[in-house]
């Protein structure tokens, strides 16, 4: 894989950006990946590196200090970083995810207030939707926000919050009107932390993305100014769903990057490793696996790039495209990394080579920002219309 993936639809800037990030990731991030995984520590050095090269500014508008990259450009960046280190790619992916409600529904004042320090990478933001009892069924949130003068008092527990312990801003979804219809119950708030009543209760021990802290956040009557509410009361559900239309491609990009990294590692190994007097890649059973891996990665990549263009164009079925690219890319990453381990044989199972880490990392792309089952539900609903509900 010496030639970069086809770029017929990419602009000159996107190609230069992709190639620059690939070089940067190869030189500065890939050598750290195994250590980040082993130590399970958040890679502060990589956060600084990404900030220094404006990578964390990519999703933000230029007028507030960002780079002004469109969805495809953000995904190209996530893909290139994930090819070297999934944890590192999550720093950008979550900066994107966490800030999407703000970017989609925030007022000019709110953008001016928070975007500059997010774009510079000085402050990280995380996305607080999931709760212990509300995963796939996100409308079932229990966290509440009760109006108190010019503020709200927010109480509840958020679970599985990526980068929750390193973020300075937390986007929180909470119930403001329990009596309202299911999809008008929620509102969205930006909570500046640390603050009174906010606590990182614990961090998870995970199978993969081990350098990325996954936090349980406890909020006990946290006072949040009404000026921190994104949109109107009741807009929360809509903001969350519109967020996923643009964040799921980011996870697809991560999955494509992981798969590409595993494909390259397996191809290199199949060229070098000799058994029975020949390169293992010259055995048809191994060659066949590599060919399938390559074709699958490219198919997932092209679906992702198409999805980005369709979503960016404002298509009414954006949710379907977001779900399709995440579904295909996540399953591809799992299959390709599993096969990459197989190509390595016993060496694939030990941490001397990166493919076992990639396989562990790939699994999360089938789970977060909606499980693969939820993606299928979204796609099927677009096909069949909504049934009972």
């Amino acid at each position: 894989m010496s030639t970069p993936p086809s770029g017929h639809r990419l602009t000159e800037e996107q190609i230069l950006l992709r190639d620059t990030l690939r070089e940067l990731a190869d030189a500065r991030i890939a050598p750290r990946a195994a250590d980040i995984d082993r130590s399970g520590e958040f890679p502060e050095d990589i956060r600084r590196l990404l900030a220094q090269h404006d990578v964390l500014g990519l999703p933000f508008p230029a007028e507030h200090g960002g780079v002004g990259g469109d969805l495809l450009t953000v995904c190209l960046a996530i893909e290139q970083i994930a090819r070297a280190c999934t944890t590192s790619s999550l720093i950008l992916a979550v900066q994107d995810l966490g800030s999407l409600p703000l970017r989609l529904g925030g007022s000019e004042d709110q953008l001016a207030r928070w975007v500059p320090r997010l774009a510079s990478g000085e402050t990280l933001i995380c996305f607080g939707l999931t709760e212990p009892e509300a995963g796939s069924d996100a409308a079932a949130l229990r966290t509440t926000a009760v109006r108190d003068g010019d503020d709200y008092l927010v109480s509840g527990t958020k679970r599985f919050i990526t980068n929750g312990s390193v973020a300075g801003l937390v986007t929180i979804f909470a119930v403001t009107n329990p009596e309202a219809p299911r999809h008008r119950r929620l509102s969205c708030f930006i909570v500046e932390v640390p603050t009174q009543g906010f606590r990182v209760a614990r961090l998870e021990h995970k199978m993969g993305i081990r350098g990325s802290p996954t936090a349980e956040l406890e909020l006990t009557s946290v006072r949040v100014p009404a000026a921190n509410r994104i949109g109107d009361e009741g807009d929360g559900w809509d903001l969350a769903m519109r967020t996923f239309e643009r964040s799921r491609p980011g996870i697809a990009a991560q999955a494509v990057g992981i798969a590409q990294g595993a494909l390259e590692a397996a191809s290199a190994y199949a060229r070098e490793r000799k058994q029975f007097g020949q390169r293992i890649g010259d055995f048809q059973m191994v060659a066949s696996m590599l060919a399938d891996m390559d074709a699958q990665v490219e198919a997932a990549r092209q679906l992702l790039y198409t999805a980005c263009e369709v979503i960016e164009s404002g298509a009414p079925d954006a949710a379907r495209w977001a779900a399709m690219c995440k579904l295909v890319a996540g399953d591809t990453a799992m299959r390709v990394t599993t096969d990459a381990v197989q190509v390595f044989g016993g060496y694939g199972y030990v941490d001397e080579f990166p493919v076992e880490r990639m396989m562990r990392d790939a699994k999360i792309t089938q789970l977060y920002e909606g499980t693969q089952q939820i993606q299928r539900l979204v796609i099927a609903r677009a096909l069949l219309g909504r049934g009972r509900d």
Binding site: S2, E13, L16, L17, H53, D54, G57, V67, G69, A77
Partner: protein, 262 residues
Amino acid sequence: MHIVVLTKPVPDPAAAAERLGPDLRLDRAASPAVVNGNDEYALEAALKLVEAHGGEVTLLTMAPPSGADTMRKALAMGATRGVLVTDPALAGSCVRSTDEVLAAALRELTFDLVFSGFDTSDGNAGVVGAAIAARLGLPYLSNAAKIEPDPAAGRVRVRRITPAGHDLLEAPMPALVVCTQVLGEPRYPSLKGIMSARSKEIASRSLADLGLDGATVGGAAATTEVLDSRRPPARGATTVVRGSAAEGAAAIVALLTTRRLI
């Protein structure tokens, strides 16, 4: 302070796809072009100096029109603008033509310093910087390991690497400096730089614009001609001798003897 950096597009050494066409000229379609590696070191040195002293960096390139694409990366690294000298008559230029054309382009620009890379990874002549300095009568400061301009005094100091150590040279500006890799690793383009690179000006100059005649410079006036080109022969199998120095010496002598080399 205004610095002009000579940047040449060369076949990407990493792609290893360099190929000559039937006319023994570079087949530019065969290999992606990149900014010559040593020129990136010169650009990095220039960018650091204007960051410290203020000013601008102009890129100067002689290349086919596609040279503008290669120049974008150097602009993304932080250069202010580019000048691309391009003319069909320049295809097949020899070193003499190259430095004459670049010198003519420099006469149109104002600058305090001109930086060139140590050499280029395709032509390897390594004399264009010196020849330009000679044509323009500029002080010539080669093998620079450190460059310290004093804009107020209009002078520049250069630490020049020598086989014995280094010399400290001083010259009035404008001057021409040949940069080395000791000056520091080139930066990656920042993403803001990449996104704004397209909006930066690349001025195109033909031979006529520079007051030059295609009969006296360029391919028609080339002073050298490529007659043949060969790839280096593939390396044979390598024998690694292990053991103590005495064992190693004995094994090497035995090997050379069997090959009738001693």
